[in-house]
Amino acid sequence: MKITNKKMKNKKRIYLDNASTTKTDKSVLREMIPYFEKKYGNPSSIHSFGQEARIAIDDSREKIANFLNCNPEEVVFTGSATEANNIFIQGILDLHKNSHVITSAIEHDSVLETVKNSGADYTVLSVDKDGFIDPEELKREVKEETVLISIMYANNEIGTIEPIEKISKIIEKLNQKKERRIYFHTDAVQAAGYLDCNIKKLKVDGLTMSGHKIYGPKGIGVLYKKNDIKINPIIFGGGQENGIRSGTYNTPSIVGMAKAVDLIKEKRKKKETEDLRDYLIKEVLKIEDSFLNGPEKERLPNNANFSFRGVEGESIVMFLDQRNISLSTGSACSSRTLEPSHVLRAIGLDNLQAHSSVRVSLGRDTTKKDLDYFIQNIKEAVKKLRKISGR
């Protein structure tokens, strides 16, 4: 292993796993440091140390409210996006007993597992070969008991952008006829960096964001919760965040999250990223028996996901790691379990195809030169691994 470390020092490392996590932007870090070193007071304290931290929290809340086009009181800081998903889903279901939830087959585990373990009755919507849900199926599955629908804004593995505005309209109509209203939540963790998160347009009741997918720090999430919606807390304690999320304010991370959100518009380079992604897809698909997973259009600008006949994704990842390129198999969590990705299975891939996939996720710093180096090396990886597998 020592040799590998030496090699790494000498060579540029190419990071193509930005959907797993991004680096913390330098200006985000700069903004955070004073809240460790000097302004470390507890925002709940009434002395001046506490008050300067309190002001920072309020300012941060306002910045994020501007980004989402909502009221500052509707922004809830959490310890992660997973926590935000849990707080909203469990919070609604705890308040409305004996209810029904609808979600999709390609949600992140923090939604799927929360729904499955909630004790509520639930329906998991199927998706088509590109990962899109069918709004008609959603309409059909709504029952009188349905109180919550959670559909992700954009998928983390295959980049599919779900029609959130369209779904909101359907739910709005359904709610006019229902006694129990349906709350609509979307996991916008992957979407936030590139797509419009204007709440007035999306018309959702709950939305989740993460800091570390948008060049902010890890360990911070945001839950947008519409003002008039009541949820039961699942974390009890000092009553911070209007009692919804107790726990001392993580001032540095909250400040960092706000700065990261502030930088999105200026730094996201949506069109450039899309062009790079399309170039990458075009070049990689020149490899014999290679396939693109997920849609060609309505796809996250920074996401590409490929399958290659006769090789396993994990082997490609390890091969490329030796060439200083970092990417991931279907999803970053997948190395911990042997099960193929539930997302790739949901779009109709069989076990072997699902195991033969890799995800490439570009970042703000990714250049065409990086991609050319990647393309050259993935060609070699597939060729070599096919020789080993004889397929």
């Binding site: 390890m318 091969f319 080993i388 597998s389 397929r391």
Partner: protein, 115 residues
Amino acid sequence: MDHFSNPKNMGELRDANGIGEVGNPRCGDLMTVYVKIKEGVVEDISFKTLGCVAAIATSDMICEMARGKKIEDTLNITFQDLVDELGSLPSIKVHCADLAQKGLKKAIDDYQKEK
């Protein structure tokens, strides 16, 4: 790691007299072991593996370990021996070593049936 980067025993063995195909569809590994046995000794052995790093490395390792050994001795190779020989294997990947050992056993069974 070297057994993954530079496997020495991959490919089909043309004059094999025993072939063992094993697979674990759940984790997606498929492995074929080819043996050429002469007078009770594994004279040559090779593999083809579709799988993860650990599956490829253990396939290569079992070839190294079995070559030149008597049939009875090769059957005594356990997946633990493979893990030890490779240095270490994450616990979730131990089944790969198990798969390699089963592949070898199946190839030898195949030879014994043919005989």
